[in-house]
Each structure stands twice: as C-alpha cells, then as structure tokens.
C-alpha cells in the first residue's frame, strides 16, 4: 500500500500539508508531494477537497530472492525461564496449529534449555516435532547463542512461518534472527491468518499507539516471522497421549559475548494475579480519588479477582504501575473484565479487549470503552458499584 497524490486533481491548495503527523507532504512544483517519510497513517486522505490523495496497492518490495516454495511448516519458538516453558508458547502452538492446517504442513516447536519432560509438554500441547537443545549455554537467556542456533536451524530446515512470544526475551533476540536470515518481522501481532489466495501470512498489529490496526505482509522473503503478546491467542488442545518426535540438537561450539551473572525475581503478588486472574476489576481516572480503589478492592475480593488500572490512574499515583493494563502495561485476558471510570483509549483497549466478558461502567454514554463492552452501564461508579457490591453480598449470604 502507498499513499500518492494525483497530480491532475491536485490544485496545490496546501490543505493537506498540516494534516500529516510526519510532515511528509511538501509542495513541489505547486503540487502536493508525499515524500519518503510517509508512514501510511492515512491522515491526509480525507482532508483533500479535490480527492486527489489516494491509497494504492503496490506490488513492489524486496525482490523474490529466496526460493519461497522450499520453505515449509510452522515453527513456534518456545520460551523457557528457569527450565519452565512460558504459557505463551502453548498459546502459540494453538495458533500455529491453525496456520499449519491451513498450509497443510507440520507444526514444530523449538526449545533451548529445559529438560526432556518440558520438550514432551510441547508435544502434548500440539507440536508434531520438537527441536531441543539442552546445551548448558542456554541455561540463562543470552541473545547471541539463541540467535546463532535458531538461525542455523532455520537455514537447515527452512520453516515457512516462525512465531514466538512478544516477551522481553522474544522481542530482544527475534529481531536479530530476522536480520541474520534477512527477512521481515512483525511485532506484537493480535491476529494471524493465512491469505487463502496467496498463502501469505496476514499479520495484524496495532499501529500508531494503537489508534489503528495494520495488516502486515512479508510476501517475498521466508520465513515469515512474528511475535505475539502473551494472552492474545487461546491455547490449543492439551492431549497427554499426543505423540511426536523430539530431535536433540548439539550446540557445544556456541559461545556468548554477554553473560548473565544473576537473575533476580521481583514478582509482586498483584502482578502474577493480574495475568492469571479470572476476574479483573479495573479503575481509571473516572474514580476521581485514591479511595475509589478501595471500593474496587472490595468488589474484587467478592469475585476472587485482581485489580487493574488505566495509565491515567497509575499516573495519578492511585495505584502502582504493576497494575497497569494496556499497550505499555500488561495484556490480560480474564473471563470477566470490569472497567470502572475508564474511557477506553485504544492504548488501554489493546491490553484487555480479548477478555471473554467486558463490563463497563462510565458516566459518558459515548465513551469508547462501550464499543468493546458486552455489558454497558451508563452511570456514576459511586452510585452503581456500591449497589452491585451490596447485591453480591446478598447473593453470597455475607
């Protein structure tokens, strides 16, 4: 896709110039010209009184340097910390199975570090094959050895699609792998599908601070690489009787210029709770004061839930950052998310909109949070919540 100016229609009126957040429109020979700094945000499309600014499909991109068809299969790079595989890996095996089926190909997992029983869990969660290295160099996460071995495996086995979690480790070493094998990488995808016509991977991700969603393609290079945040995809089927092969990979020759000397855990109770809780009661600036969170705490207590917050509430210092939900906070996916006095800015929505049931309480009937809510309560949190708490207590006989 590209944004271009139709010179025949452009009158040089300059209306579009100020619409561009990137200052990418300049006047050239009395016509608007969109220069190389266009980020495809489309802000200019509507403003042109002549309709001279257009969006066009483009086929250009890197030339077809790799033999695309020789790449087959979907791979999930499974992250482990302290020898335990992170849940996001199982979620990706769920998504990976769908993609593999659509491509009529196999699903493999790659595991560095951890022991054989963990490799077996990957098979129970749906992998047909696991490439597993138990080399000591993988005990802690260091980018270089991870990059080295994964790149070698890619060159040898040529997967078509390669996924991992958008966690601090995934986001740190996957870009290097992409650069080494010379392919594209799409960060923080919220949806992955196969284009039935071309067989390409359609990678959807939030862009521009989450204000818009973009579909990204990597049409001419392989593998197609993507990271996905934890809790965005649903886990696949767990089958204790599932079978598959585990291939042991040697990595004795691999070294690292960085060295982890210590790993420190600083998990507060709330952080764990937040991402694992079935119910999250979240508060925003609409609570108006720190005491509002005591009311949320009471409700959360009754529902066995955890406390979330918008960035505005965190910025007000009503609650610590570890509770923040959204683009720069945690991504959560509870069964019930209750948003109290949260407007529903996209940066917040991207962190919670895949929750099963969303209940929103807001004074403003036009608040965007209602666009994602299953249950919309237009009202004052200080009038509605106390009654809800009261009624819940009655139900529970407290």
């Amino acid at each position: 896709m590209r944004i271009v100016v139709d010179n025949k229609l452009c009158t040089g009126c300059e209306t579009c110039l100020s619409s561009c957040p990137y200052d990418a429109i300049v006047l050239k020979d009395d016509k608007a010209f969109i220069n190389e700094y266009c980020q495809l945000c489309r802000a200019c499309l509507e403003v042109c009184p002549e309709g001279a600014i257009k969006e066009i499909e483009t086929g250009v991109g890197v030339e077809d340097t790799t033999d695309r068809d020789s790449f087959r299969g979907v791979w999930v790079f499974a992250e482990q910390r302290d020898g335990r595989i992170a849940d996001v890996s199982f979620e990706l095996l769920g998504a990976g199975r769908r993609l593999a089926d659509a491509r009529e190909a196999g699903l493999s997992a790659v595991l560095f570090g951890a022991d054989n029983s963990e490799a077996e869990r990957l098979i129970h969660w749906g992998a047909d094959r696991v490439y597993h290295s138990e080399a000591p160099v993988f005990e802690h996460f260091n980018d270089e050895p991870y990059v080295e071995l994964l790149s070698r495996l890619i060159s040898e086995h040529r997967p078509e699609i390669l996924l991992t979690g958008a966690t601090p480790t995934g986001r740190s070493f996957f870009p290097r792998v992409a650069a080494r094998v010379g392919t594209g990488l799409t960060a923080d995808c919220t949806s992955l599908e196969i284009d039935s016509e071309t067989g390409n991977l359609l990678q959807v991700r939030p862009a521009f601070g989450g204000n818009i969603m973009a579909t990204i393609l990597c049409p001419y290079r392989r593998p197609q690489m993507a990271t996905v945040r934890p809790r965005v995809m649903k886990k696949g089927q767990y089958d204790k009787t599932g079978t598959g092969e585990i291939l042991k990979i040697k990595a004795d020759d691999i070294q690292s210029k960085t060295r982890v000397t210590e790993t420190i855990k600083e998990v507060s109770e709330t952080m764990v709770n937040l991402q694992e809780a079935d119910v999250i009661v979240a508060g925003g600036r609409g609570l108006g004061k720190i005491e509002g969170f005591q009311m949320l705490q009471e409700l959360a207590g009754l529902l066995g839930g955890a406390i979330g917050a918008s960035r505005a509430a965190v910025d007000e210092e009503w609650i610590p950052y570890s509770h923040q939900v959204g683009q720069t906070g945690k991504t959560v996916c509870p069964k019930i998310y209750i948003a109290c006095g949260i407007s529903g800015a996209v940066q917040h929505l991207v962190g919670m909109q895949s929750s099963d049931i969303i209940i929103a309480i807001n004074k403003n009937p036009d608040a965007p949070i209602f666009n994602v809510a299953n249950y919309a309560i237009v009202g004052d949190v200080y009038e509605v919540l106390p009654v809800i708490i009261q009624k819940l207590k009655e139900v529970k006989g407290i």
Binding site: E36, R81, H140, G209, I216, T261, I377
Partner: protein, 260 residues
C-alpha cells in the same frame, strides 16, 4: 569512548485521536517530539561520557525537519549530531532502517550505541537489536540500570517480566534502554545557545556505502497491506434504569453465565 545515541522524531501519539467515522487520524497540530524512550538514551549517553570520557553523537534517520530533534539533543549536552537523510531511504521498514543506520554508525565510528526501548509511533522495538546484528556486536535490550561500567566491560540490569537479569557484556555493544534507567535532564541555557550555533552533519546514501537494493521500500521485506480501525463488539447489552436496577440486571446476567 565514542558513544552514539540513536533518536527518532515522532508525532506525540498521546495527542493523536482517531476520527471513528472516517477511520483516519486527526492531527490538529500534534507536536513532533523526540521519542520519549530516546530521551533516556541521551541521558544514558551523557552519563557514560561523564564516567568514561569521550564524546556523545546523536544520530537520526529522518526528514530534514528532524534536525529539530538533533538540536534539542545538543541542548541537553550531546557533542555532535548527524542527520541521515536521503530519498533512497523512502519507505524503510525496521530491517532497512537498521541496515541504513548500522552503515552510518560504522562510518562515524563507535564504541557504545544507545537506543530507546522502542519508538512510540511503531512500538516495534526491533531497530536496536537488528542494528547490533548488522554490526556483529552484542546487544542488551531493556537496560534498566548500570551496575558497573568501565572501558572494556559493562554490567547492567536487563528488565524482564518477573524482575531482572544482571548481564555482563564486552564493549563495543548496543544497549536499548527503558525509562527506569534515569531521569532525562532538561536542556540548559548554555546548551540551547550551543544548539542554535551547531552545524548538523548530513549523511546520504553515497556517504555511508550502502547498497541500493537494501534501502527503502526495495530493501523492506515487510509491507503494509491495509489499515483499519479496531472493531466494536457486536453483542452488547446496555443495562438501563436506576443504579439499583442496573446492578440487579448485571447480577442476573452474571448468574446466568454461571460467573457467580
């Protein structure tokens, strides 16, 4: 010690709103700012310089007006600024950006390269690690604290989901930094004066020895297919009435869903 800080000029996304009807961004004078994480990278560069000596060079790849960002960095205390600008860089994705930037830092010379954790317009966090790969040097992402620094070795804390790792790395190295690392200083008056007078060095494609086929749109493996607005939920129930009635309806709904 030659320290390079990569900074990007971005629109302040906090100010950007979307028009839900037309699915386009409303600009309304959204200011251009230095990517917030890059301010922490600049501060880190100045700190490393004060400990190890040397110079801090700020580098940006962007349009001519990105000079403003570079001058702001000089007013904070950077020694020199380089603007990487060329029509051939048009439409670069992260891989092409990292390729171009790494060629530039190789031309300039470096010991330590600092980047922000991510740029707030794209939030990809890929350019830093990809640059390190092109330069064939180690990198540490999400640096939240310097524990020990000397000319040959850095010991830093890398923030993880559940705490942090202490990582030792040799120099040359590339670090991407998070906001926990420091508090960026404000420009000084003297700095502002210096910024006004400073000559910004410009580098183009021929200056940095890049290969044309790896630049811009042609060198970008990823393409944007389309852009759309986040979807609204379809099965929405509006609970009406007095607060008491609303609460009662909600409890009934939750009961019927077996949530309570």
């Amino acid at each position: 010690m030659k320290i390079i800080v990569c900074i990007k000029q971005v629109p302040d996304t906090a100010e950007v709103r979307i028009n839900p009807e037309t699915n386009t961004l409303i600009r309304d004078g959204v200011p251009s700012i230095i990517n917030p994480f890059d301010l922490h990278a600049i501060e880190a560069g100045l700190h490393l310089k004060s400990e190890l000596g040397g110079t801090v060079t700020v580098l940006t790849m962007g349009p001519p007006q990105a000079e403003d960002a570079l001058r702001e960095a000089i007013s904070m205390g950077a020694d020199e600024a380089v603007l990487l600008t060329d029509r051939a860089f048009a439409g670069s994705d992260t891989l092409a950006t990292a390729y171009t930037m790494s060629s530039a830092v190789r031309t300039i010379g470096f010991d330590i390269i600092l980047c922000g954790k991510q740029a707030i317009d794209g939030d990809t966090a890929q350019v830093g690690p990809e640059m390190a790969e092109f330069l064939n040097i180690p990198h540490v992402a999400y640096v939240g604290k310097f524990e020990e620094i000397n000319a040959g070795m850095l010991r830093v804390q890398r923030l993880m989901d559940e705490g942090y790792d202490v990582v030792e790395t040799s120099v040359p190295v590339l670090l991407t930094v998070v906001k926990e690392l420091n508090q960026p200083r404000l420009p000084s008056l003297k700095g502002k004066m210096k910024a006004k007078k400073s000559v910004i060095k410009k580098l183009t494609h021929p200056d940095i020895g890049t290969e044309e086929k790896n630049l811009g749109l042609a060198g970008s493996p990823t393409q944007v297919k389309n852009i759309f607005a986040p979807e609204a939920k379809k099965d929405r129930k509006v609970l009406t009435g007095t607060p008491g009635e609303q609460a009662a309806q909600l409890i009934e709904e939750l009961k019927s869903l077996k949530c309570i």
